[in-house]
Amino acid sequence: MNGMRVRSLKNAGMMLLMGLATFIVLTPLIMIFFHIVKMGAGSINLDFFIQIPSPPGESGGGMANGMVGSVILILMASVIGIPTGIFGALYLSEYEGNRLASVIRFCADVLSGVPSIITGLVAYTLIVVPMHGFSAIAGAVALGLIMIPIVLRTTEEQLKMVPGTLREASLALGVPFWRTTLQVTLRSGLKGIITGILLSIARVAGETAPLLFTSLGNHFWSKKITEPMAALPLQIFNFAIAPYEDWHRLAWGGALVLVVVMFGVSLTARWFNRDRSIG
């Protein structure tokens, strides 16, 4: 009887601890979200989405160039990061145990551990310096490098889950190896791969550091990808540290948009992944 009491006491204690832990995890998240909504909601209006920032000291304006810039940068980064990541993962899954495979895996691990500002420096050295100028291309390369290991790892995990019997079934029908890889192996893991891609996009969408000395930012619309280009996180950063009230307001609005977009992307990713076990 006494044992019972001790146990139910322990149980209650543990429940309390877990409740507390949940609270500690959720509180900052909710606080951040509410704070951003409170500070940013006032800046969100039509102009915010269609205007470029107004000059210092003038009110109004928006962050249209930053948002469009972010989309362009992410699209370009995807062109670099998604195919490279997927083909790398295909190589890893098809040539398991081969020397080059371990080299690729090692590089991906290193790449995913590199602080993003260093990735920015690499893009600076590789592209900004030889091209004699900051450019959207350099920014996209930096973001693409960040995407590669994320796409590669999630894709590899997905491909590992594709049953070998399915590939064998296809090969035994006289389907060429590369067609089997693309249409059976890759297809079967597609949902998970899309999830990985979305998560990698959510990750780079908020990156500021790698853009600081690559894409640089731009107060106006960029006409070429060989020129500096605005990006939402960069604009938030620059406006937040500037001494103008109006710019602070824009920065809060930008933060709200960024958070909502990233939340949406993550939700979509989860939705894609909802019945992964059934394939």
Binding site: Y95, E96, G97, N98, P163, T165, L166, R167, E168, A169, S170, L171, A172, L173, G174, V175, P176, F177, R179, T180, Q183, V184, R187, S188, G279
Partner: protein, 252 residues
């Protein structure tokens, strides 16, 4: 009786494991040849060398020759893809493509290879499904997912998918071992019916099944061919003591 497949001095290694040792065996055309032997004796390994499935396994090494009609399938000039279109394979566990309909599963060999002629598709689907006695059961739900079928139906679908690409040879690796007795019976009847057009090699660990369905039997032990011959002879009057012991259930 024509020899369809001539296996000469076949050896298969997985790294250091010598899984198949100096096997020579003739497989006659339009007959059912059973491969029997205790688990791990190399039955699947031999079967998979006949359609070059070991190509996909980096640790596997094959030596010797396998002559299909007059082509040496391991010759440098032989294409594994073309070989596999002539030598189909049915696996132990039914493995239809889970994301495909019944219809698409039947023509998967064409579709996945990008050589499907739309005009012929209906014809191929109907005749292949009829050949495996599945047509009447599924003709009203061809567009349904293949996974809705029972295990036995799935296995017959896999056989239909195999014969759809018009092979000469069908390899079957314990095709009924995952099925219930009634489905097993249907597969066995099907094998009987298919042999007028195809050369069939079936791996089985079920003695009664080998005796029921096959014309010839080859008994393997520890990677070596112990004895091969007519099924009736192997089962009633084997030459080797090992064969007799295995067939009478004294080991294995």
């Amino acid at each position: 009786m024509t020899t369809k497949i001539k296996i000469e001095d076949l050896n298969v290694y997985f790294r250091e494991t010598h899984a198949v040792k100096n096997v020579s065996l003739d497989i006659p055309q339009n007959r059912v040849t059973a491969i029997i032997g205790p688990s791990g004796c190399g039955k699947s390994t031999i079967l998979r060398s006949i359609n070059r499935m070991h190509d996909m396994i980096p640790t596997a090494r094959v030596t010797g020759r396998i002559i299909l009609d007059s082509t040496d399938i391991y010759d440098r000039t032989s294409s594994p893809v073309l070989i596999r279109r002539r030598v189909g394979m049915v696996f132990q566990k039914p493995n239809p493509f889970p994301a495909m309909t019944i219809y698409d599963n039947v023509i998967a060999g064409y579709k996945l290879s990008g050589r499907l002629n739309r005009a012929d598709a209906d014809e191929i689907v109907e005749s292949s499904l009829k050949r495996v006695a599945l047509w009447d059961e599924v003709k009203d739900r061809l567009r349904r997912n293949a996974m809705d079928l029972s295990g036995g139906q799935q296995q017959r679908l896999c056989i239909a998918r195999t014969i759809a690409v018009k092979p000469d040879v069908i390899l079957m690796d314990e095709p009924a071992s995952a099925l219930d007795p009634l489905s097993t019976l249907k597969i066995e009847e099907l094998i009987e019916e298919l042999k007028d057009k195809y050369t069939i090699v079936i791996v089985t660990h079920n003695m009664q099944q080998a005796a029921r369905v096959s014309d010839n039997t080859a008994f393997f032990y520890l990677g070596e061919l112990v004895e091969a011959g007519g099924t009736r002879k192997i089962f009633t009057n084997p030459e080797k003591k090992q064969t007799e012991d295995y067939i009478t259930g004294r080991f294995g």
